[in-house]
């Protein structure tokens, strides 16, 4: 009986709280692929943003108001991303953390610019995102020209004299990353033996796998997303091919291992230094673990995107996107993934990519964590 009363009390209190919050809160948005093949990453972003908003509200909100979070789904589809962006713009939401796919972030950013929305992407790495001189964009992740260079240099060193193939999925992200890696490889004096593209969403890669087998490929670099990369890997092993697969930051979710099974062991990918290991992230990682969420991949990046925005908004005393963006680019921000500073384009100044490797238990870790 007592517990029932308590529940009733808690329910009443939360109701009162939520209505109070509803009356005058500031809404911010997180937009990403909540459905579809990339939904694992959409969920990472949603988890990160939700935790950030909860923590900010627990610390008293922002500028005297509570924050509310609007979650939008672009399904990694450029058209849907654009309409999400227009919806967010017309709802007068001042800030969006999003999107995941570069092919969504780029078209959406123009609608955000028109709708007076500040956009910080936690995950879109295509250089073009910040190269168009839009006033409203920034990112807390690295760029594919950095990522491709790290991947290319690693391959040139660790797979010297071996046969290399490069595949891409023809998306803005995948093709962009594959091309940057190819550029870095060629600069290091390595010419790939095969360069091919496939369609994102394909399930049958047996024909490509047989080609890799014919050309005795030792390492295949995949510019694409985790689902297709996982299937390529699985079909390689089915055909008895032991080629190593390497890919980009889109592999940073455990779902990759659940697609490949134990065959995923030895797969390489590039990603920023694991934010979960940073001392700045310790308490927040524990908060996630208490909720049974592993804050992997872009979860903490999304958290950091919200942090950067809220700190800048606090500093200028308004949520006006133009003023906040000017502050973001001028200042230095203490976030869960470390101290961030932005250049005039909106790129962060200090992120380096490192190479990760999957093990046979479905976990990934940095190779040479101390750097080599």
């Amino acid at each position: 009986m007592k517990s029932l009363k308590l529940i009733g009390l808690a329910f009443g209190a939360s109701l009162a709280l939520s209505t109070a919050a509803f009356a005058q809160d500031t809404t911010i948005a997180v937009a990403g692929p909540m459905t579809g093949g990339e939904s694992a990453f959409g969920r990472q972003m949603k988890n990160g943003a939700e935790q950030a908003v909860t923590d900010l509200n627990a610390a008293g909100g922002l500028l005297g108001k509570k924050l509310a979070l609007d979650v939008e789904d672009d399904a990694c589809d450029p058209k849907q991303a654009r309409s999400v962006a227009e919806k967010i713009g017309s709802a007068k939401i001042p800030f969006v953390a999003g999107h995941y796919c570069s092919s969504s972030s780029i078209p959406a950013s123009e609608a955000y610019a028109d709708g007076n929305v500040l956009q910080i992407t936690p995950a879109s790495t295509n250089p073009l995102f910040t190269e168009r001189n839009l006033w409203n964009v920034a990112r807390v992740c690295g760029r594919d020209d950095q990522q491709g260079t790290v991947a290319g240099d690693y391959i040139a060193k660790a797979f010297k004299g071996k046969n290399i193939a490069i595949l891409n999925d023809k998306t803005t992200y995948g093709k962009g990353l594959a091309d940057e890696t190819k550029k870095a490889l060629n600069k290091a004096g390595v010419t790939e033996k095969m360069y091919e593209s496939y369609n994102k969403g394909d399930k049958d890669f047996n024909a490509i796998v047989s080609r890799l087998k014919r050309d005795n490929i030792d390492l295949v670099y995949v510019g694409g997303y985790h689902q297709e990369a996982g299937l390529i890997l699985r079909q390689m092993r089915d055909q008895g091919l032991q080629t190593v697969l390497m890919a980009g930051d889109a592999m940073a979710d455990k779902e990759f291992a659940s697609i490949t099974g134990p065959a995923g062991a030895g797969t390489l990918f590039t990603f920023g230094p694991d934010p979960r290991n940073k001392p700045t992230a310790k308490t927040i990682v524990e908060a996630f673990k208490a909720k049974n969420i592993d804050p992997e991949g872009y979860t903490l990046y999304t958290y950091a995107a919200v942090q950067v925005w809220s700190q800048a908004a606090k500093k200028v005393g308004t949520t006006d996107p133009m003023k906040v963006m000017a502050a973001i680019k001028a200042g230095s921000w203490d976030t869960v993934i470390g101290t961030l500073e932005f250049d005039a384009k909106g790129d962060i100044k200090q992120l380096d990519y490192v190479v990760y490797k999957w093990d046979d238990k479905g976990n990934y870790a940095e190779i040479n964590p101390k750097g080599s």
Partner: protein, 304 residues
């Protein structure tokens, strides 16, 4: 040569899956004269049911793979057939005597209903399973190129052949098959001669859905994942296969499926992977220019 053999294996397996789905399109078209656009999603439902029943069996502690596969096959065929029957009953039968486009629009609607339903019920994420059938055989080994035939591929092709044989027998030798062929020719006349037309059409959907469930299960075994939107692309490809083979013809659907699978694979093998769909559809267009009813289709006889 070895390389060619490997690619043919790849193409035949892919084509078998297309063919199994294509049969559902072709049977329904043959009898009701409509294109069941929801069929791709019935295939997706079949994949999900196979996944769920597989997980239930594993959690019950069953470990002997052939028994698991057989139970999963039967369960997913039965439940998916129920879906096929229900879709026909609520979305197509009430519209059967309406204008010609009505059932087709209803089918497109059903397709959305099914895919959104499984998105809501099963979540938006990709559902992977660990490899269930592992291992395989090395057929040829020369000059370092190894031709592999994996056990999954054998299972897919053999299941397809066996089921195709059963259903061909069903259509050509049984009472139900005779009723189906009668309805295909003339529904009114068949009804006058004592054929239960409604029941026969229902059974057609049931059989088509059961085969789609088999395809869904093969897909799950072969690629190791299902998701709620996989029905669309697979459905389009299978529909193309049905048209290529001659829509309305059972062996035509299988032939069309195999051809689409082989064209896609061989094109990816010797030319560019990017244009494999272009290649498949170009061949479809060329075939339809010279054989408007498809490879094995019979010219439409004007019903008087």
């Amino acid at each position: 040569m070895d390389y060619f053999a490997q690619q043919v294996i790849n193409g035949v397996v892919l084509g078998s899956i297309y063919g199994l789905i294509a049969i559902g399109y072709t049977m329904v078209y043959g009898i009701v004269g409509m294109i069941n656009f929801a069929h791709g999603d019935i295939f997706m439902i079949g994949g999900f049911i196979a996944l769920i029943s597989f997980l239930i069996l594993v959690s019950l502690g069953l470990t002997f793979v052939p028994v698991i596969l057989l139970i999963v096959l039967l369960v997913s065929m039965a439940i998916t057939a129920l879906y096929g029957w229900t879709v026909e009953r609520i979305a197509y039968r009430p519209l059967r005597h309406s204008f010609r486009l009505a059932p087709m629009l209803s089918a497109i609607g059903m397709s959305f209903v099914l895919s959104n339903y499984s998105q809501v019920a099963q979540g938006a994420r990709v559902k992977p399973v660990p490899p269930i059938i592992t291992g395989g055989y090395t057929l040829l080994d020369s000059n370092g190129f190894v031709v592999r035939l994996s056990n999954v591929q054998i299972v897919v092709v053999i299941t397809t052949i066996v089921l195709l044989a059963i259903f061909t027998w069903l259509v050509s030798r049984t009472r139900l098959g005779r009723d189906m062929r009668a309805c295909e020719q003339d529904q009114t006349m068949a009804a006058l001669l004592g054929v239960d037309v409604d029941r026969t059409i229902s059974m057609t959907f049931v059989i088509g859905a059961a085969l789609a469930a088999v395809a869904g299960m093969m897909y799950l075994l072969y690629y190791g994942l299902v998701d709620f939107y996989m029905g669309f692309v697979a459905g389009i490809k299978a529909f193309t296969a049905a048209v290529l083979g001659g829509i309305g013809s059972l062996p035509g659907a299988m032939l069309g499926g195999l051809l689409i699978g082989l064209i896609e694979t061989l094109w990816s093998a010797y030319f560019s992977v990017e244009y494999k769909d272009v290649a498949a559809f170009s061949i479809l267009i060329i075939v339809l220019i010279f054989l408007p009813t498809g490879l094995l289709g019979r010219p439409e006889v004007e019903k008087v």
